[in-house]
């Protein structure tokens, strides 16, 4: 019964508010002129005081982007984006970079406090005792603060904004940036390569187990501003790191663009666990406003016995276009993808994963739970591929969709390509609604309709929720409840 009480309490606690992170922080900001051209790319690069090689890299990407076409194969519909009607750079004004937390603008600190993100090192995440989390807070286009840097440095872990890494560790950035997601990978990744402003850089040296969870918190605050963050995580031989990502944005009538690129590099025996709770503003019930979330995430298991695990809880964004993937290059490497995608209102989600089996005896597991409610559309799109030489490859895929209401839709589009006889692939998918029996059972025990749905949905997602680090699992479970509010009755 404990679980039931918990769910019921969460749902009632949350009250009627639909999106509680929808506030706007009035903070003076430093913006680049609207629009996109080579000068803007130079402007961003100059703002970051970047070396020439970085600027050249950006310009090359920009020139490639100009001749690329926007992809239209995803099952999402939106008016054409005018890329010249956006701000590509916006940063809270400051005299010099803050040396310590005390120097950070108190208005910013209050914002993060409101969001429940601990920026003070002694603070802990609500409801979790004794857990330490290092946070990199990205506000519009820049990282405002990174906590626990020193403690991490003692262990040899580098955790800093990528704009800082370009200066402090150029050899590492040069060596790995763009090697997992090439500059010309796709339209949005190329755009990101040209105009990315900040994001996190993590380097875990050989044999080091990162002593705490690392986390980046993304916040879009300004109007008409796109956020283009870039994250690069490298786990050297035998290293381990768990990384969390969270995101929110104010409620606005306009659509805002978020086009991020995340690259993971995993060497021999290393493991990277990447978790996302995506809670961008989804737009209102009529589909006005909301974030367009066009993200390229890819991990490269370069070494033998390496492992990359993606866990995502997708509840926000007007449009989600996101396929965290694993390239299983090293022998015996393993890729995992656990996903909950919840769409309500008029949200559109087209998300999934790619598992590319290249090495021998590689294995992968995909668990995807899609829940659509309201008038939303929820698509799972995935690829599992075994290369000719990927002897002994193994994949298990399970995609379940749950439909709540008769105005929503759920789609499953898996591609399975096996070029090797000893590769064993299994794929299962189901689509169903919450059965009357389940509802009756819960209602009979005194739960009202909405509580019953939240309970059943939590059960439906349990396999994925279990994969989240504890600190996030609590938040994610609540989110599942909120996102479905108003979807029944």
């Amino acid at each position: 019964m404990a679980a039931v009480e918990e769910t019921v309490k969460q749902v009632t606690d949350l009250g009627v508010e639909q999106y509680k992170y929808g506030f706007y922080t009035d903070i003076e900001s430093d913006k680049a002129p609207k629009g996109l051209n080579e000068d803007i790319v130079r402007f961003i690069s100059a703002k970051k005081n970047e070396p020439k090689w970085m600027l050249d890299w950006r310009l090359e990407a920009y020139r490639r982007w100009l001749i690329m076409e926007e992809p239209d194969w995803a099952k999402v519909e939106y008016p054409r984006i005018d890329f010249n009607d956006l701000y590509y750079y916006s940063a809270p004004k400051k005299a010099d970079g803050p040396k310590s937390l005390d120097e950070v603008d108190p208005e910013l600190l209050r914002t993060y406090e409101k969001l429940g993100i601990p920026l003070k090192e002694q603070a802990v995440l609500a409801g979790v005792q004794g857990a330490k989390i290092a946070v990199d807070a990205v506000f519009d286009s820049v990282s405002v603060v990174t906590t626990f840097k020193e403690e991490l440095a003692k262990a040899g872990v580098i955790f800093c904004p990528i704009s800082e890494a370009v200066h402090s560790h150029p050899e590492l950035v040069k060596k790995y940036l763009g090697t997992v997601v090439p500059v010309t990978d796709n339209y949005y990744a190329t755009l990101n390569s040209a105009v990315f402003s900040d994001g996190s850089f993590v380097y875990v040296p050989e044999g080091v187990r990162c002593p705490m969870e690392l986390s980046t918190y993304f916040r879009i605050n300004e109007q008409q501003t796109g956020q283009f963050e870039r994250t690069l995580i490298i786990a050297e031989k035998g290293a381990y790191v768990s990384y969390l990502e969270g995101c929110t944005a104010p409620m606005r009538d306009e659509n805002q663009l978020h086009a991020a690129v995340v690259e993971l590099v995993c060497m021999d025996d290393a493991e990277i666990k990447y978790s996302t709770v995506q809670n961008w503003y989804p737009g209102n019930a009529e589909g006005i406003g909301g974030i367009y979330n066009f993200v390229t995430k890819r991990g490269d298991c370069r070494g033998a016995n390496s492992k990359i695990s993606w866990t995502q809880v997708e509840t926000g964004s007007a449009i989600t276009w996101k396929y965290p993937s694993c390239i299983l290059r090293g022998d015996n490497s393993r890729g995992e993808f656990y996903s909950i995608a919840i769409s309500n209102g008029r949200q559109q989600i087209d998300s999934g994963t790619k598992m590319l089996h290249l090495g021998r005896n590689t294995s992968s597991r995909i668990i995807s739970k899609g829940i659509s409610a309201g008038k939303s559309s929820n698509t799972y799109r995935g690829l599992v591929n075994a290369h000719r030489k990927a002897g002994g490859a193994r994949n298990y895929t399970q995609c379940d969709s749950l439909l709540i209401g008769d105005k929503c839709s759920a789609h499953t589009v898996p591609y399975i390509e096996s070029k090797n006889a000893s590769a064993v692939f299994e794929h299962e998918a189901t689509t169903s609604k919450i059965s009357d029996d389940q509802m009756f059972y819960c209602r009979q025990r005194g739960l009202d309709e909405e509580e019953a749905v939240a309970l059943i949905v939590n059960g439906f997602c349990r396999e994925v929720l279990q994969q989240l680090p504890m600190e996030f699992a609590v938040e994610a479970q609540k989110l599942v409840g909120i996102s479905l509010e108003g979807s029944v009755g």
Binding site: L403, V424, T430, S432
Partner: protein, 436 residues
């Protein structure tokens, strides 16, 4: 900057045939569709891998020579040796090189409510029931290989079973291609089962060994209320041939369509089935098996459209690939907004017997109604070691054990055929093929 599209030899041959002017038969009422199809061929040519539905079957590169549309005069050919359904008592309608051959047919005697016309005879003045049924296939899908058929076809058959009638014997459509010259045989069929009628329709597709040709058939089927159609196809074309088949089925309320295809021949085969459940309580079952070896390439593309509520659909495909063969399965189930209480099941399984074989599948669900139960599954792998061990430990030699397992694997799909005589032929055919 625009790049000029360079046509392949095959496309050039088709475009030249277009220039030779429209074919007369059917232009009177089939004309608008035919004109659109001709424009599509002239414009788009053959389907290629940049088209999503053709990503794994690039006909532009797979059809590598000129195969102009056939002239309606089949070669003088003895086709008795290719009689695959010999042991089943049935009527036969024969087509050689894409031309209807009354002399080689064994036509129904008019009993059992069977109405049958050569398409050539009726295309200019079709009976009412045909006018409504034929020619819709292209308008609905705009499919490139249906366009090819629509643009050039003059031969085929219109078949109707009267209300409540059940013919005493199955009817076989028998196709033979001599390949005496490289050409595309085009045939078109309209099959209408009136309310409460029932029929077993067989198809056999064979050809002269190792001859090169393209066979293109389009079959439009309308199964009216309470009617039942069992449709069994055995495709064993020449190993150098290209086989392109399209089946369009409309299933009315409480009606039943059960289709099964055994794909054993052809260098390149593409089977497309478009089934629309248009009346409540309708059922559709589309299943098949592949037995591929050498460099064979076989692709099945299904579209099951649940347009109304309370229908069921079931698909099972068992695909065996040896040597360098490539098997492909693409199945899409659409459940429209009002199609509540739908049940849809789909399973595709690939068995790879060689290191170089390949199996690709794309089982797709597109669901707009909430009270539904749809599942799909796809697997791919080689023979199960435990099963092999079980058989070997009981003294069964390796090859025999392998044969047993493969026959059992394919047999699961063949089980779907309800006519016992036909089922036995298919099973024997599969075992025979596996042993050779």
């Amino acid at each position: 900057m625009t790049t000029e599209i360079r046509h392949t030899p095959a496309e050039t041959a088709y475009i030249e045939a277009l220039a030779a002017g429209p074919r007369s038969a059917g232009d009177a009422w089939f004309g608008a569709e035919r004109a659109a199809a001709r424009a599509q061929i002239a414009d788009g040519g053959l389907p290629h891998r940049r088209m999503e539905a053709w990503r794994w079957t690039d006909l532009r590169s797979l059809i590598d020579d000129r195969f102009p549309p056939s002239e309606p005069a089949g070669a003088q050919q003895d086709i008795t040796s290719d009689d695959v359904f010999k042991s089943v008592e049935r009527w036969v309608v024969a087509f050689v090189d894409g031309a209807y051959r009354k002399d080689l047919s064994d036509l129904p005697d008019g009993s059992g409510g069977i109405e049958l016309h050569s398409l050539e005879d009726v295309l200019d003045a079709p009976p009412g029931w045909l006018r409504d049924g034929l020619g819709q296939a292209y308008a609905q899908e705009g499919e490139p290989i249906v366009a090819l058929n629509t643009a050039f076809v003059t031969q085929g058959l219109a078949l109707r079973i009267g209300a409540g009638e059940t013919p005493a014997k199955p009817i076989e459509l028998r196709f033979f291609n001599s390949g005496s010259q490289p050409q595309t045989s085009l045939t078109r069929f309209a099959v209408v089962l009136e309310e409460g009628a029932a029929l077993t329709l067989l198809e056999s597709h064979t050809g002269a060994a190792d001859r090169r040709y393209v066979a293109n058939t389009v079959t439009e089927i309308h199964v009216h209320r309470n009617a039942r159609l069992q449709h069994v196809r055995l495709q064993d074309e020449s190993m150098a041939a290209v086989h392109l088949s399209n089946v369009h089925v409309t299933i009315e309320g409480e009606a039943d369509y059960r289709g099964f295809t055994l794909s054993a021949g052809a260098r390149v085969a593409r089977n497309q089935v478009f089934a629309c459940l248009a009346g409540e309580g309708g059922n559709v079952d589309v299943s098949g098996a592949y037995l591929l070896g050498g460099r064979q390439h076989c692709d099945t593309a299904l579209l099951i459209d649940h347009a109304v509520a309370e229908c069921t659909s079931d698909e099972l495909f068992k695909c065996v690939m040896d040597d360098d063969a490539r098997g492909i399965f693409q199945g899409k189930i659409i459940v429209r907004p009002d199609a509540q209480k739908t049940e849809g099941m789909q399973m595709s399984q690939g068995l790879l017997l060689s290191e170089r074989a390949e199996f690709d599948s794309k089982p797709e669900l597109e669901i707009f109604a909430d009270d539904v139960r749809c599942t799909h599954g796809a697997t791919s792998g080689d023979l199960d070691e435990d099963m092999m061990f079980y058989l070997r430990s009981r003294g069964i030699p390796e090859n025999e054990a392998k044969g047993l397992l493969i026959a059992a694997f394919v047999g699961e799909a063949i089980e779907k055929v309800s006519n016992a005589g036909v089922r036995e032929i298919l099973n024997a055919y599969a075992v025979n093929r596996l042993n050779s």
